[in-house]
């Protein structure tokens, strides 16, 4: 600590000096915060104010800076001192703007500000300057798995941005599904006619690009390493295995079409009943002339049956909507109408779903005379010469039928996402225990793996509902729980070609962000650029494995001695491991059990008879803390009895903080984190869920302390909940007032 020099800067601008006694704040920073150098400035974020701080850092050797001004989320460009450690006391959004006006509130307002200064000083004392992950790799090449529309787009985007790309494609040629289409649904105004796919052009651009290497007829035999230093083995059809080193991976492995043989009730498998892919093949071979049936016969009437084996409620087929097939059938009906308007084309739908500009395309088809019938097919018969579709007309409410020379089933997309880890893990466990059966099954499963990751967590990324590849689908769609590996296109959710290309572009950008961050030893999204990383004091570790299991990103392996081994490049710096560790040996340089613990303990605790309860709020800094700031921006008033500490993720909350707070005499603890569950919004996927789970177990601790269960509560808060957070706070303060002050006050 010899070289550390602490300084605090209090801003009296933005009305802080008018409403608060800055002199008292200075005294507190000096006396209680033990900060050597305390200065007040009337306009701290001005060039002059920032210069003052910079001069102190450069000339006076200040290493630790406490800024008591606005929220840590405001003025981040002005208050940016990469060589110093910084803590911030939120006086503006956190006190001035949320505490009721008027003299009656002067006292509590000042007490709140005093505490925030105490907390920022205490935190600062425990912080160290993070210096980045020293073991990082620096490979900036990008691997794209899959050479279809999504894969090629990702590859081209990354290559055009200057990055080297390796494509691995299973088939003997590039193009994927796109290459099998005659035309595509239009993606340009006026959205009236089918357009050329552009796949051939894309294939030639990719194949001839100087920065793109293409492996055809190949698959990944192994993927090892971490962002910035992946080593991959590529098995080719010839049996040769090539090795490549890459920094990030885009998985664009697409889908297969649902097997129509599973739909005998809709004529699947019968003559002149085909799926959309089958019709594309007929159209390709007609090459612009009239489309003929497989038996060479002329087609005078076609019926398209939408949602074939999709949106199925019986459990027999796909339960979801593939999203593209309505527009695809419209396009295919146009293949016929554009060639000969007299061909009778019927699209039979239950709900016509045409996202994007598809509505214009639908209207264009109606103009061209395509008939749209709202009906549910009950059976399809085929004599070989002609087909009959029996259906329930859902508007006229009657059973009827229509005959057609050809019936096209709009079947759905089945993702090619590799091994389902939930099925994999039990098999591996059984195999490890010596079961021969399981060993065989494991080998079988390994064959369908796409990435063949050698991670402890299994060979592919986790899967979602219905077997789609992982995706943080609400907030960051390309992000997966495997850092540096991004999913793009229909492998992660059903989608059309336009959405797939947008997806692929996004994923390419994410991959670029990942390799750039990795090469500097920094965290990937969502703490992009963070230099801190977790370390464990192994002497204290009891090998309980909680961190290894609870890390949402599978960043922790076990070393030979069964201690946790962090793969820093895979780590997202969420702190979930820190929250999980029962013996509290995991910490970051600038975020630890101590940095938060010290803040909790630094608060001045009024006695039992003061009628001034103290409530600790641990707020997720991704959504809840911004919502609290927004409450300030909109001048929403809340109680001055709360003390708010931002945390990286609710997952990082270690229960010791709760126990410490209750022991210290806080009357309640409130946690605010992101939405959990299937439609989670937690930036770290599992953090908020884990926190809720851990808190559900805190009842024992509370009863040991003789405290009511209501003394600890958890809320889900979205970034837009600025009005709601204030309500939560005020309601909770009222509730605590009812329960009464904590009996723990005054014991410490």
């Amino acid at each position: 600590m010899a070289d550390n020099k602490f300084a605090a800067y209090i801003c009296s601008g933005c009305g802080i000096g008018d409403k608060l006694d800055v002199g008292t704040l200075e005294k507190i920073a000096k006396k209680e915060g033990k900060i050597q150098d305390v200065k007040t400035h009337p306009f701290l974020c001005s060039a002059e104010g920032v210069q003052l701080i910079n001069d102190d850092i450069e000339k006076e050797g200040v290493t630790h800076v406490c800024i008591a001004a606005c929220s840590r989320r405001a003025k981040t460009e002005a208050f940016h001192f990469p060589t110093a450690v910084m803590s911030r006391a939120n006086l503006r959004e956190g006190v001035l703007w949320v505490i009721a006006e008027g003299e009656a509130h002067d006292e509590v307002r000042q007490e709140m500000a005093d505490d925030y200064v105490r907390m920022a000083c205490a935190e600062l004392k425990k912080m160290k300057l993070p210096d980045g992950n020293p073991n990082h790799g620096g490979n900036k090449r990008i691997l794209v798995v899959g050479g279809g529309m999504s894969g090629m787009t990702s590859a081209l985007e990354a290559a055009e941005a200057g990055y080297e790309v390796v494509i691995v494609e299973k088939q003997a040629q590039l193009g994927g599904w796109g290459a099998k289409l005659w035309k595509r649904v239009p993606f340009k105004a006026p959205y009236a006619d089918p357009q050329n796919t552009g796949v051939a052009e894309l294939v030639s651009l990719v194949s001839s690009h100087p920065r793109i290497t293409v492996y055809l007829g190949s698959h990944l035999a192994e993927t090892a390493g971490a962002p910035g230093r992946f080593n991959i083995k590529i098995a080719q059809e010839s049996g040769a295995v090539s090795e490549e080193a890459v920094g990030a991976i885009v998985q664009a492995t697409g889908f297969t079409s649902y097997d129509i043989a599973k739909l005998p009730e809709l004529g699947g498998g019968k003559a002149n009943v085909t799926d959309q892919a089958g019709l594309e093949a007929l159209a390709q071979s007609a090459n612009g002339a009239a489309i003929k049936r497989a038996d060479g016969k002329e087609i005078k009437s076609v019926v398209f049956l939408q949602c074939a084996g999709q949106r199925d409620e019986t459990g027999a087929h796909l339960p979801y909507c593939s999203g593209h097939c309505c527009a695809t059938s419209i396009k295919q009906a146009m293949y016929f109408k554009d060639n000969n308007p007299d061909i009778n084309t019927v699209v039979m739908y239950q709900d016509l779903r045409v996202p994007g500009m598809g509505e214009d395309f639908y209207r264009s088809a109606q103009n061209k005379g395509v008939t749209f019938t709202k009906g549910r097919a009950t059976g399809v018969e085929s004599t070989g010469a002609t087909c009959t579709v029996n259906f329930r007309d859902l508007i006229l409410d009657e059973d009827t039928s229509v005959s057609a020379d050809l019936v096209v089933l709009a079947t759905g997309q089945v993702p090619s996402a590799g091994v389902d880890l939930e099925a994999w893990n039990p098999v591996v466990m059984a195999a490890d225990n010596g079961s021969e059966d399981a060993k065989q099954k494991k080998a079988e499963m390994q064959k369908i793996s796409i990435l063949n990751l050698n991670y402890r967590q299994g060979p592919d990324m986790p899967q979602f509902k219905y077997g789609f590849a992982d995706s943080h689908f609400i907030c960051f769609p390309y992000e997966t729980r495997r850092t540096g590996i991004y999913a793009a296109g229909p492998v992660r959710r059903p989608m059309d070609m336009l959405q797939a290309t947008e997806d692929a572009t996004g994923a390419a950008l994410k991959a670029i962000q990942a390799v750039e961050n990795a090469s500097l030893g920094r965290a990937a999204h969502p703490r992009s650029g963070d230099l801190s990383f977790p370390t464990a004091r192994l002497e204290g570790c009891t090998q309980c494995k909680r961190c290894t299991v609870e890390c949402p990103f599978g960043a922790i392996d076990e070393d030979e001695r069964r201690f946790p081994k962090f793969n820093e490049e895979r780590c997202r710096r969420c702190g979930t491991c820190m929250g999980a560790c029962p013996v509290r040996v995991i910490s970051f340089e600038n975020y630890s059990v101590d940095t938060v613990g010290a803040q909790i303990k630094s608060v001045d605790m009024p006695d039992e008879f003061s009628e001034k309860p103290r409530i600790l709020i641990l707020a997720c800094e991704n959504d809840a803390y911004p919502a609290l700031d927004m409450a300030g921006l909109s001048r929403t008033v809340y109680s001055a009895f709360v003390r708010i500490i931002p945390v990286r993720c609710l997952g990082s909350v270690n229960t010791i903080w709760i126990t410490d707070a209750l022991n210290a005499g806080y009357d309640g603890v409130m946690m605010m984190g992101c939405k959990k569950g299937d439609d989670y919004q937690c930036h770290f996927v599992k953090g908020s869920e884990l926190a809720h789970y851990r808190m559900s177990k805190i009842g024992d601790t509370l009863s040991q302390l003789g405290l009511e269960p209501e003394r600890v509560v958890t809320h889900e808060v979205a970034i837009t909940d600025n009005a709601r957070v204030a309500q939560y706070i005020n309601d909770y303060v009222a509730q605590i007032n009812e329960i009464g002050m904590s009996p723990m006050k005054g014991f410490v």
Binding site: L352, Q366, N367, T371, T373, L396
Partner: protein
């Protein structure tokens, strides 16, 4: 079945949608309906109809010619224009309803005693005679549309209103003998005949 109707059936085979597109006012809009049901939900008479506009359009597309043209549905439309204002596909629904009613009448399939049809017919016949509506004759025709004895009853019921109108010089009983004409009533007749001829030619009706 009228001649006109037989000719139409022969001409359009089973393609009723095409027939509507060719021959019914604004009929080429029918294919653009997306079956959202907004019109059905907006029509103040929706419940009173045999079929809502949404259904009528679906029936046309399903080729239900007789059912549509014999229905009294489109005769119920009061031209409130609620549906037109709300239709997301901008179909001129009200106009199509009137077009369909008119077409059903031309095909002589419209329900004979449908009140709207009856009043429209009486009005039209009255108007074309002199080029002006003879209100006295029109009222009497309306009273007697359901037979002689019902007509007498209707007239008796309206007696005091009639006398009042006479006192106020709003009703001239001598109008019963011919009454006012417009200046060139034969010219009007010619004009109407010409208009009909043009329509028939355009829509391909057999000349009457």
């Amino acid at each position: 079945m009228s001649n006109q109707n037989q000719q139409a059936v022969a001409r359009y085979q089973n393609n009723f949608l095409k027939e509507v597109e060719d021959r019914v006012e604004d009929g080429d809009w029918v294919k653009m309906c997306m079956q959202c049901g907004v019109c059905a939900g907006s029509c103040p008479l929706g419940d009173a109809w045999e079929h809502t506009p949404q259904k009528i359009f679906m029936m046309i597309r399903a080729g239900k010619r007789e059912e549509v043209l014999k229905s009294d549905a489109m005769w119920m439309c009061t031209s409130c224009y609620n549906c037109i204002v709300r239709c997301p596909r901008k179909l001129p629904i009200t106009h199509i309803m009137h077009g369909l009613a008119n077409y059903a009448h031309r095909m002589n399939l419209a329900p004979q005693r449908q009140p709207t049809r009856v009043i429209a017919k009486i009005f039209w016949d009255n108007l074309v005679k002199t080029g002006r509506v003879n209100e006295l004759k029109f009222s009497l025709a309306m009273y007697f549309k359901d037979g002689f004895s019902q007509g007498i009853k209707n007239a008796m019921a309206m007696q005091s209103a009639g006398l009042g109108l006479m006192k106020a010089k709003r009703l001239n009983p001598f109008e019963i003998f011919g009454g006012h004409k417009c200046k060139d009533s034969s010219g009007i007749k010619k004009m109407i005949a010409k208009a009909r001829e043009i329509e028939d030619r355009k829509k391909g009706y057999t000349p009457l």
